[in-house]
């Protein structure tokens, strides 16, 4: 029976497609885009092609990077979410209350939610999840750092849980909205890490059904789904029967697969293809800049030559990145002058610090003792060449960004810096960072809210997290910055918070620790048959909970 129904609906699809084709072929160009057309249709399989490195673990508690967040958004859910204005809204928790001294938060949980393995969602589950993230054996980094102040989790009753903190945390709700601390079945968490990595169990709209390494993950519909976030639209979610989550690292092949209809959604869309797809009615774009830090180049201030602020300023004053961004990104990326993403309301931009001034740069280098040049035109001091090692993660930097680094290399050469670009795979790249074997590095960091500054620039973040990763790659070690960031994260007064974060950003920018480039690019291209696709306002990952395939 089901197969017959399927074939009939398939015939209808073909017929409808033919009609649509005929109509669109006759209609003039232009017209509206991405407006939902008609009623959502249930069923169908959507194929997603990711250009990110395939996660080695599907549980985002472990490590905690963006590729994990992308896929886990489809099967895991958090205590709270954000709406489009950045306000915190209910999700698995319906209400929350901060204690007067800010040292504890009490959450009321939904009572009608079960994990897809049948385990009920309750206060014990929340406690088990936070314990899992904080357990060094889990080797979490993103979630671990986000929950750094949670000291104890107390189950007040079945559906009330209290988080007790070591210090007030103005970023707690923002931290909890992230998929890196999403809720998983406590029963599933008891399995070995390998098993849990292969198929984490959550409460989300889809369930991990299978994982063919180096190829794809199959997600199927959660038939008993009851817990969309408060801002979700539609009833009887999700609409799709299944999602095939493929890994196609080559961007040209990914785009070709979208054009041919082999896949319906691609991520990491290349700037030139975004531009060339614009007039194409069959392809839509979703631009979802990630929250947290802007993409930036960090200058390692812990060792020579960048332990000298003059050399850092000279470097930043010598490289012109504006033309490169314009040429390489085809207008899809805007230059940033802030440590924070443009979606963060508290970001501070100081463009005047980043105007190119090669004369000033030259005299700064002279002053710092790098006055002589060798036969190849590089500056030298005590017989040492002014060399900068720049490990580049080919998994995290799209080709356009790598080309931008090459242009920076050419610019810096004129000023007398020798930049050595080292394109590395992810694990060798982590290795280079762990050995402090870098002078320049670009590492994305996504987190909801300005608290990302504490993670990136507080001296405590020079210490590695359990995963071995440390986030303060500029190695800013400044008691004034530490003090500002600590106070900002503990104050409950919004005005104080804003002013403290502003001061901290000013010190970081004026210390020439970073060269901001642009927002973390997060462009998706998708077939116009896909309706109801949106990016989560939390960490900007697309959710397919409300998506359906139009015929």
């Amino acid at each position: 029976m089901p197969s017959r129904r399927f074939s009939r609906s398939r015939a209808a699809v073909v017929l409808a497609a033919a009609v649509v084709l005929l109509v669109t072929a006759c209609s003039p160009g232009g017209g509206s885009t991405s407006e939902p057309t008609g009623e959502p249709v249930t069923g169908g399989t959507l194929t997603y092609a990711s250009g990110d490195a395939e996660p080695s673990c599907l549980d985002p508690h472990v490590g905690g990077n963006y590729p994990q967040a992308l896929i886990a958004t489809q099967y895991l859910e958090s205590l709270v979410s954000l709406d489009e204005d950045g306000e915190v809204i209910p999700w698995l928790a319906t209400e929350w209350q901060e204690s007067d001294d800010g040292m504890a938060w009490e959450f009321t949980l939904r009572e009608d939610v079960t994990f897809t393995d049948g385990t009920p969602f309750d206060a014990e589950a929340v406690a088990a999840n936070i314990a899992h993230v904080q357990d060094p054996a889990t080797a979490s980094s993103t979630g671990y750092l986000a929950l750094a102040k949670v000291e104890d989790v107390v189950a007040v009753d079945d559906h009330t849980v209290r988080l007790e903190l070591s210090a007030p945390d103005s970023a707690l709700l923002e931290s909890l909205s992230q998929v890196w601390v999403a809720m998983e079945s406590p029963k599933a968490l008891e399995r070995s890490q390998d098993e849990n990595c292969a198929a984490p169990v959550g409460t989300g709209p889809f369930v991990v059904d299978g994982w063919e390494r180096q190829d794809s993950v199959t997600l199927v519909r959660n038939e008993d789904y009851t817990s969309p976030p408060a801002d979700a639209e539609g009833t009887n979610l999700p609409y799709l029967d299944s999602i095939v989550w493929r890994f196609i690292p080559d961007s040209a092949s990914r785009y070709a697969a979208l054009q041919s209809g082999e896949v319906q959604v691609i991520d990491n869309a290349q700037p030139d293809t975004i531009q060339s797809a614009e007039p194409d009615e069959a392809i839509e774009e979703l631009d979802a800049p990630r929250p947290g830090a802007a993409n930036r180049i960090e200058l390692n201030s812990s060792k020579a030559p960048f332990d000298d602020e003059r050399v850092r300023e000279a470097f930043i004053r010598s490289v012109n990145v504006d033309e490169g961004i314009e040429g390489l990104f085809f207008g899809t990326a805007e230059r940033s002058y802030s440590p924070l993403s443009s979606v963060e309301p508290l970001g501070l931009s100081l463009p005047e610090l980043f105007t190119v001034d090669t004369d000033a740069a030259a005299s700064l280098l002279d002053e710092a003792g790098w006055a002589e040049r060798d036969a190849e035109g590089y500056r030298v001091k005590d017989g040492e060449r002014l060399t900068l090692d720049f490990p580049v993660s080919t998994n995290q930097s799209i080709p356009a960004e790598q080309s931008l680094f090459e242009q920076i290399q050419a610019d810096a050469k004129t000023a007398g810096f020798e930049i050595k670009l080292h394109p590395l795979d992810l694990s060798s790249w982590y290795g280079a960072l762990a050995e402090n074997d870098y002078d320049l590095v670009s590492a994305p960091y996504t987190k909801v809210g300005p608290d990302v500054l504490r993670i990136l620039y507080h001296s405590a973040s020079i210490e590695p997290a359990p995963s071995g990763y440390f986030a303060n790659l500029a190695q800013v070690d400044d008691p004034a910055v530490d003090d500002l960031l600590t106070r900002a994260s503990t104050t409950s007064n919004p005005d104080d918070r804003e002013s403290l974060y502003e001061q901290a950003q000013r010190v970081i920018l004026e210390g020439y620790y970073i060269l901001p480039l642009y927002d973390q690019q997060n462009h998706f291209l998708y077939s116009s048959t896909v309706q109801g696709l949106r990016a989560m306002p939390t960490v900007s990952t697309p959710t397919f909970a409300e998506a359906w395939l139009a015929s």
Binding site: D250, S251, A252, Y255, A256, Q270, D272, T273, S276, N320, E323, G324, E326, G327, L328, T394, P399, A400, Q402, S403, E406, Q407, Q409, A410, D411, L421, H422, P423
Partner: protein, 280 residues
């Protein structure tokens, strides 16, 4: 059997086909580009000009520009030395190693022949590129290691051919005559066997050069050889691949250079081989 050496160089009435003439021209151009690149393209292959990025072929930029506004024509010309040098070096390593293996097997005692031949056969069972990749996994990527890798990977094939050539030459009458006359082993190898193997070696080297250029480019394309922004054809191909949907010239011209040089080396090699054989 009148001196196979002369058959290589001075074949009477040497008349190349159109294809061979064309291939010869390409090889000469390649040589000029490799030795005096500034004669053909005076610019700097690494000079960026972001404002001129992604320009199509035009009189100002014959082959267009790449994503950083570098002139692709200049890069292709300057890339010749890298590709050719790596190709020649890799072939030299491969053949050098093969000569040692081939002579040891061809002239050594039976057990040594048996041992060497089995080792070569085992290595031969692996596709050459796989051997090269294996080597790079062990030593780490880079220009030097990819050169050695390609050399090592091609050695087993050459070694087999050289061994059989050595054996054939060693059983020839004039070698036996020399042996009867009491000439030393080394003298026989140097004066009788080596010259007779040289002709085959020369053909092998020319044919192998084309192959080596392709392999070296493949390794760079995979990110295991030359590192961007070096003007190396394989690396240029890899960089252009991202933009192939919109800017074809970024992959087309480096690709053309690889195909043309590999084809030219092969055609010339086959030409020599053909004449050599007919003369013998």
């Amino acid at each position: 059997m009148s001196g196979p050496r002369s058959a290589v160089v001075g074949a009477p009435a040497f008349r190349p086909t159109v294809g061979e003439a064309l291939a010869g021209v390409v090889l000469v151009l390649l040589l000029v580009a490799a030795l005096w690149p500034n004669l053909l393209a005076p610019g700097d292959p690494l000079a960026t000009a972001p404002a001129d990025a992604f320009k199509g072929p035009s009189p100002a930029h014959l082959f267009g520009t790449d994503e950083s506004g570098r002139d692709i024509y200049t890069r292709v010309v300057h890339g010749a030395s890298e590709s050719l040098l790596i190709g020649v070096l890799a072939t030299a390593i491969g053949i050098g190693l093969a000569i040692v293996l081939g002579f040891v097997a061809g002239l050594g005692p039976r057990w040594l022949d048996f041992g060497t031949t089995r080792v070569v056969e085992v290595l031969f069972a692996f596709p050459g590129l796989l051997l090269a990749l294996l080597f790079i996994v062990v030593t780490g990527p880079g220009v030097l290691s990819s050169t050695i890798a390609v050399g090592l990977a091609t050695a087993p094939g050459y070694a087999r051919i050289i061994r059989s050539q050595v054996r054939r030459a060693a059983s020839a009458e004039f070698v036996e005559a020399a042996r009867v006359l009491g000439r030393g082993r080394l003298w026989i190898v140097a004066r009788h066997i080596l010259p007779n193997v040289t002709a085959a070696l020369f053909v092998l080297a020319t044919l192998g050069l084309g192959q080596a250029i392709i392999w070296v480019s493949s390794l760079s394309y995979l990110g295991l050889g030359a590192v961007p922004p070096a003007a190396e054809w394989g690396a240029m191909l890899a960089a252009g691949r991202t933009y192939i949907a919109n800017f074809w010239w970024m992959t087309f011209f480096p690709g053309l250079a690889i195909v043309a040089s590999a084809a030219a080396a092969t055609v010339v090699g086959r030409g020599i081989q053909k004449r050599n054989r007919s003369a013998v």
